[in-house]
Subunit: 145 residues, 2 copies
DNA sequence: GCAAATTAATGATTTATTCAAG
DNA sequence: CTTGAATAAATCATTAATTTGC
């Protein structure tokens, strides 16, 4: 018997999906315990399976949404393929206060190399030169040690 | 059209979120100018909108995380006698077999009154008592499409 | 109809970020 | 600046669907 992987029964999937529909996204340890106890009535299951199920379901839900947005964006990009961003820069009409002027950063040039997992969609932003990101966290983790 | 308020397009939100994810938290004036220029390709936008977006996003992110931590602590102080039920489930060991017979009834019992259309499948879950969903989105189960 | 081959779903792991504490 | 805790992103791996040739 290959215990390699949990194979959920339809009842188990139903319960999990219902919980997800009701808004449960990251159950606590306690909730996982209870859910596991219930689901074990329909078949063998471990707590980590419940945990993994919610992780995967949530992640793939968001991935789906993201792909939808990417597609939408792609479609809109086709109209304005050759974009120049030169003269739009004067369009900060009313910087209300001086907070736009407190530039305390030295700009390290960074480009958005990839905008996402790019499963099957085009990614026009890859070729877009974006702005320098003075990324405190990203630069920190790599340079030290 | 009352343009009193910026209505971000999905593309604009995507770009902003991507920048935020990459670590940009408080863009400088220069960065705001460039970001605004880019985002104006997708719709009207002012520099102050970009500034406000980052302010709000950072604040709400921190608030969310703080609430999550507080909730986590609260939930775990109630019933764990000595054993820390952590959510570092990367290595969820074998679930204690006594989970199955743990009394999980001391919480408010929630009943799944109806599980849905149930196309052709079995439906033994109608009589199943489910668990309390102590979830932020669980309160409003208006999404019964 | 039926399996081998191929593709799509999804369970399980690993890796990178994140915020906050020390 | 470093580290702890938790997670979400990305990836690996296996099962289910499906296609295809017979």
């Amino acid at each position: 018997m290959s215990n390699r992987r949990w194979c959920p029964t339809p009842e188990q999937v139903m319960v999990l999906e219902e919980l997800y529909r009701r808004g449960l996204r990251t159950p606590t340890a306690h909730q996982i315990q209870k859910i596991t106890a219930h689901l074990s009535l329909y078949g063998n299951i471990q707590g980590k399976s419940v945990f993994y199920w919610f992780q995967n379901h949530k992640a793939r839900d968001r991935q789906k949404l993201r792909n939808k947005h990417l597609l939408y964006q792609t479609l809109h990009f086709q109209g304005s393929s050759g974009m120049m961003m030169r003269q739009t820069w004067r369009s900060i009409p009313d910087p209300p206060k001086d907070w736009l002027m407190r530039s305390y950063g030295h700009d390290s040039v960074m480009v958005m190399e990839k905008l996402g997992p790019t499963p099957t969609a085009i990614q026009p932003l890859q070729t877009l030169q974006l702005f320098p990101l003075t990324s405190p966290a990203a630069a920190n983790h790599h340079s030290s040690s």
